[in-house]
């Protein structure tokens, strides 16, 4: 009996160690990699970024500072979106309308073309959000 008790304790300890070894969660590598691929798993944001860089950044600049490579040539200069107080004062619907119908239709410069026939309503909504997002950065 005197021998069995320490033996049982030793056995229990061993089992416990074994258990704790098993409890270390195995790596689910693929899902860990996926966590770093936000541009894929946050599809709307990624699409807005792509659309902006394709259609808007040539004039408004990649970061919305109104400094795209074609900006020097335009009069009036393209709007900078980095002025957060200015963007905050504007109704998002107006931003959306300006993108859709162009500057002339809302009493602004006709240098801003209409994109309503090129982009879907959904895409223009995404772009509107993106412009607002740029003003907050």
């Amino acid at each position: 009996m005197k021998r069995t008790i320490p033996a049982i304790i030793a056995l229990l300890l061993l089992m416990a160690m074994n258990c704790s070894h098993r409890n270390a969660p195995p790596h689910d590598i693929m899902l860990e990699v996926a966590a770093s691929m936000d541009d894929i798993f946050d599809a709307p944001t990624a699409r807005a970024r792509d659309l902006y860089s394709r259609y808007c950044s040539v004039c408004h600049g990649q970061n919305g500072k109104g400094d795209g490579f074609n900006a020097y040539n335009l009069n009036p200069k393209p709007r900078s979106f980095t002025d957060s107080s200015f963007i905050a004062r504007i109704d998002p619907d107006l931003i959306q309308e300006t993108i859709t119908k162009g500057g002339a239709a809302v009493g602004l410069s006709s240098v801003m073309p209409p994109w309503g026939r090129t982009l879907t309503k959904k895409d223009i909504e995404l772009l509107t959000d993106h412009v607002i997002m740029l003003s907050k950065q």
Partner: protein, 662 residues
Amino acid sequence: MKTAIYISSVFLLFSFLLILQDDFHQEWKVTQGKFAELPENKYYSSSEDGQKPVLSIAQVALDGLNRVDRCKTCHLGIDDNKFAHAKAPFTTHPGNMLEIHKEKDFGCTACHLGQGYAVSYEKAAHKKLPFWNETMLPRQLLQASCGTCHLSEEVPGAGVLSEGRLLISSKGCSGCHDMNDFFEQGPRGPDLVGLGNKVTRGWLYHWLKNPRDYLKNSRMPTFRLQENEIGSLVEFLLSLTSRDDPPHKITTLPTAAGDANRGATLISESRCITCHTINGKGGKLAPELERVGDKVREDWVANFLRNVHYYQPEKIMLEYNFTDQDALDIAAYILAEFTEEEYLLPADEVKTFPQSSSKQKQRIEEGKLIFSKYGCDGCHNIDGKRLSPKVGPKLTNIGNRLETTLNFGKIEGIFPTLYNWLFLKIKQPEIFDSTSIMPTFFLSDRESFAIVVALLANREYNYSEKYLVHESKKSLYKKPAGEFGQLFEKYSCISCHSIDKYGGTISTVSLTIEGSKVKFDWLKNYLLNPFAIRPILTERMPKFRMTEREAALMADYVTKVYVDDNIPRFFDYSFKPGDARIGKNLFDSLECVGCHIINGTGGYVGPQLDDIGERLESGWMYAWLHDPLKYRPETIHPDYGLSDEQAKQLTAYLATKKRSGQ
């Protein structure tokens, strides 16, 4: 005895009641009860007759997919926007996927996998369970399911899957593995006949050891070859010499007879960087030239430049009409400028070389076996032929592979799923088995992830044909006939331009309807003396040094054959007096100068318009202004929604813009 019977009958009755109770409280019934209590759920809480709805199992049976899904038994709000803010399992499906793939037509498990029959959380296999073959696919890998029905390289809306499929094609996986036929098949590397005349022994040795030592973005993967294997392979490859002389053989060496300064001018005139990378700049279609002098034999360069299509039967590079002297001058420049260090053979290799001819023959034979063993002919033909069958296992149904059959070798601490196994395998092919002959592709985590998603899509389910979406890669393209066809081949037009969705992508100009766009005279002059049409594009056509007759013949064919019948010809006849004047006003009010240069001012986004009336057919300008997206869906030219009349007036104005004056 009687007491025993009493006790056992009470026990039996009790068990029966227990089972009954269990049946009444099944998981799905409890869930449906909770659903009825949702605040969103006015229908259930106050239905017209005040009665509670009957609990029922919701089931959709899909013949063509061989699936029966009961998921909606618990996911009751899945296709009802009212439940967008409800918690799982009642919440609405995110995004608009169920608008495109309705639950009643596609069910759930075709995309999410899992056990559709089951009506409990665990049995539906929401979580990975050991030894279960089809548990639900983690959200991050869902695009794999798109690929089981969408059988094309690019699947709209499935970016990761498309990325992975394009990688599978571009890395040439089908060279060693049987892949579905929408992937690119066929040799990815050059035909190796003539290699013995082309490269130096030292370079070949180091290239086979590690291609990235010479070219950091090498398309060829690294085979983990033993030293003696490399030696034999070198011997075999160098034995692949050309059998006859090129048509215009140059026997003098560029170092003796070439003028490197003149060569430099010729290289920049010929726009080699449209396809080749030089000093970090240039195209990706052709090999980098930075260290090409370390690779090729001195006598090869000039001969290649003089006889391009003899050395390159695939005719990817164009024939430049170089004279012997031109070729020697360019070769002299290349050998002087694009050389960094000489590749020397390791000392052991030098000792065994030169050998007796019988020893050499033996090594060639050994090399040939190694060539077959590693499946080199998956990517490289020898004289247009393949020596041995594919060396890798077939992958058309790798997504069905049972996880219990995977061998993780000595690797521990990894969640043992098919996707993790594939991920590790393609990142480090020898990880589970050091004798693996699969080469290393040095893939990033992201690339590996995308490839695994694409591989998981390779599942065979016997879905009925009505669910499958094939995108045929077949093109209407036919090699043009006659003298134009020969010139078209000589100048390798199809390497950069596409026709009917076939061909290269270096040029943004597809030739399919080019004849409806440009005018004969302009095109003829452009072929003789190309320039950049768009101010911001650095890529432009190389100068072909073609004769005036060749240019005329090509321009004639293009403007007559590559046309679109819907684009009007001789459109100028429909202009009315005054149209151009109104068009000018329209041009000003639309602020076209925001993007186009005209009379010396304007933007750099679109092409300059000063000679647009000489360059473009009026019919094309009209069609384009009317509906730019129809002709180029990716264009950033705004669609102003012009009326027929306005488009015509604007065209009438643009047609007057000619440099030479009217």
